[in-house]
Symmetry: C2
Subunit: 435 residues, 2 copies
């Protein structure tokens, strides 16, 4: 590729790029510098440029855009699919976005403004406004002829949406059914009227759940008057699910979600994203230390069990929080199930607490002066495991009911709360039973 | 639906079912008992039955199959897509599977045996053997005519694979390109020759990464001679990603992955899946208790800092483990990057440890008899945070290199190891500095 570039062989470059998947071209050319990439892109057709560009990592796209001149940027922005362009514009400096807006054709500007005004985690932010649509009153043969002239892009041709003149969505037909149908049949008779759609302000989680449940390649997005405004395609849903799973995992481990890959994230950014949470958790742990420092521990054998008591509560709380968070995001339960969830967690806490109390008692017998005193340990374990189960299930439900992401801070929060309350419980039970 | 069933109105039922998405029919009829569901299914065509059945929850499918007679089961198994049938057969009792194998036509039996012999997490286990294929030497118009007679199912018609007579994969063409092409053009000239495929024994993780990277609706699966054996479709990849994200989250919180939804899992199963890990972690915590019990703590003020020291190491370890696990599963890094990962984690551990050591020192000044003695705390914090970073990054890499799932036990393992070693570090540093 580089040798073709050096030879200024635009035709050769264009032919090579035509043969390869756009993602492959992007991958091969990632090693080139910005100047060389623009040289490569300039050798290609506008369509090719717009197809290849979104496959560069986002950070690289930003860098390339900021280095480009207006004659390079205009055609690129116009050619890019609205959802890809939206991803890019979101990450650019707002003043830079304002400056390049005139570059984009008037019709496109409307799309951008609409997408940018959708909240980050709504169906509207995921959708593309490129879709294939037809009226109901034509034949299957006519429909195929019209699709040939519309020539929609590859991700949106497989479902064709049937609209009334005011864009009200009345049905859809798959390209498969259109091909297999008798060319003289009317679209109105062939189309599916049982439409599964999402509202533009529904959450991405609901989009994912519906698309996954119905195995669709794309799902239509409608406004409150049931007018079609866009579609969300399978590939964007897959990307969203993968990104959200990663973000949830990072949040549950007390890391502020990374916007780039692990190895691409600068060490200073990483230090900040981990450090801010470590510091917050440090101060909650400091509360535990201050509580312990103020408690005169008259029975020295109790000290050895401090980490064990804390770990039991934390582990149980972590389990409950993760189970409730994953169940909410998979759609296995909703906020309305809270009485059932709490009842289950109460029973589980009791069962698991009893399970751990038994080896806890045996271990305590080794170090306590008497079996009666050793009872402090199993009683504390039972209490902290139940505490963990309850706090771990209540916090994600509480976050969800406040409209926050349940994964946001639940696990670190759960550990911190269970640590402090667990120590207080331990010291209180010991005080009551030993004095 | 129930009233139609009671009226024995088979035609009415068939019409209602035709109007609705199979998933909707399954959802509506989930409340019926097994007898009523079979009555409903028997009223429908074989195709409808086979389409609706896979949308019942797997546990329900098993129950229904075990209640069915052979004349109900035969057509159902023959009609089901190979991947759905495979999911079901995997969960059934092996002796039951042997008993019903004669029911399935001879040609189908071969598919089943092949799929069942693929490891659970390989491309082969995800693939379906239903795909559309054509030879290269025909025209686009002829290709569409042949597709009409093949009438492949909806998930597999959108990419057509071009095969030589020995099934060697030489190219593919999307239905879109076939429709848009001049009907007289040769398939050989239209098809893409730059094929992205997966080998039958590649991991599902690699399938997910390739399909997500190239935004495909389906990806072909080939054997070692590059002969097409099946395809993996976007919907199965989406299901896999969601299931694996849930399993990873549950494993990282020390819960053995649930095979059903949170609310569907019996309390006794849940107790087992949580209890087994809580017990294992309890015994590692017991080691910490025994270490502490054997260490004479001559300086009482050190006791208050035990939970804080442990929490700092555990939190840092949890962060590193989760970052490395998510990076591996997103394809952001591979095993070969281990020197870079360890170097990064070493530096991060140093930075983060220093960050926490400062407030740690200030807090220790409040309780330690002298500033020199207070230094034990920041030094310990620095050591355990670095320990956490290193153990947290090494364990997932080690698990991966042993061919195990990095998410398998890393987080609970990390905490357990960091707890024990952290306490030993704390006591050793205190002993060296204070005696």
């Amino acid at each position: 590729l580089r040798s073709l570039l050096n030879k200024q062989d635009a035709v050769g470059i264009r032919e090579v790029a035509e043969e390869l998947h756009p993602a492959t071209v992007a991958e091969f050319s990632e090693g080139l510098d910005d100047h060389e990439i623009w040289h490569l892109l300039d050798s290609l057709s506008v369509e090719q440029r717009a197809e290849i560009f979104p496959y560069y990592p986002l950070a690289r796209q930003i860098q390339l855009v900021e280095d480009a001149n207006n004659s390079q940027l205009g055609p690129l922005l116009e050619g890019m699919a609205p959802d890809n362009r939206d991803d890019l514009l979101r990450e650019l400096d707002p003043s830079f976005v304002e400056a390049i807006l005139p570059l984009v054709a008037k019709a496109e500007r409307h799309d951008i403004r609409m997408l940018l005004s959708c909240p980050e985690d709504s169906a509207g932010s995921l959708m593309t406004t490129e879709y294939a649509s037809l009226p109901a009153g034509i034949s299957a043969g006519e429909a195929i002829a019209r699709l040939r002239t519309q020539a929609p892009n590859s991700e949106s041709i497989y479902y064709i949406y049937i609209l009334e003149s005011d864009r009200t969505l009345v049905g859809f037909i798959s390209l498969r059914d259109l091909i297999l149908a008798n060319p003289t049949s009317l679209v109105a008779d062939l189309m599916q009227r049982d439409i599964i759609s999402v509202k533009v302000d529904e959450s991405t989680e609901q989009v994912v759940q519906k698309l996954a449940r119905f195995d669709f390649i794309a799902i239509p997005v409608v406004d409150n008057q049931n007018r079609l405004v866009g579609i969300v395609t399978h590939d964007d849903v897959l990307d969203t699910v993968r990104e959200e799973a990663t973000e949830d995992a990072q949040m549950s481990a007390a890391v502020a979600p990374l916007s780039e890959g692990y190895l691409e994230t600068a060490l200073i950014t990483m230090t900040w994203k981990r450090g801010v949470w470590l510091t917050i958790l440090f101060f909650t742990a400091a509360v535990t230390a201050m509580v312990l420092a103020r408690t005169p521990i008259t029975h020295v054998w109790l000290i050895a069990f401090i980490p064990l008591v804390i770990a039991s509560g934390g582990n149980s709380g972590n389990q409950s929080a993760t189970l409730v968070i994953t169940a909410l995001s998979m759609g296995d339960c909703t906020l309305a199930d809270w009485p059932r969830i709490l009842r289950r967690e109460l029973i589980l806490g009791l069962l698991l607490g009893t399970l751990l109390a038994i080896p806890g008692f045996l271990l305590a017998l080794l170090y306590a002066p008497s079996p009666a005193q050793a009872l402090v340990i199993p009683l504390t374990i039972l209490s902290v495991v139940m505490l963990g189960s309850l706090v771990g299930s209540i916090l994600p439900l509480l976050f969800r009911s406040l409209g926050l992401d349940p994964a946001l801070m639940s696990n670190p929060f759960v550990s911190a709360i269970v640590d402090v309350v667990g120590i207080i419980l331990y010291m209180s039970i010991a005080f009551m039973m030993l004095s």
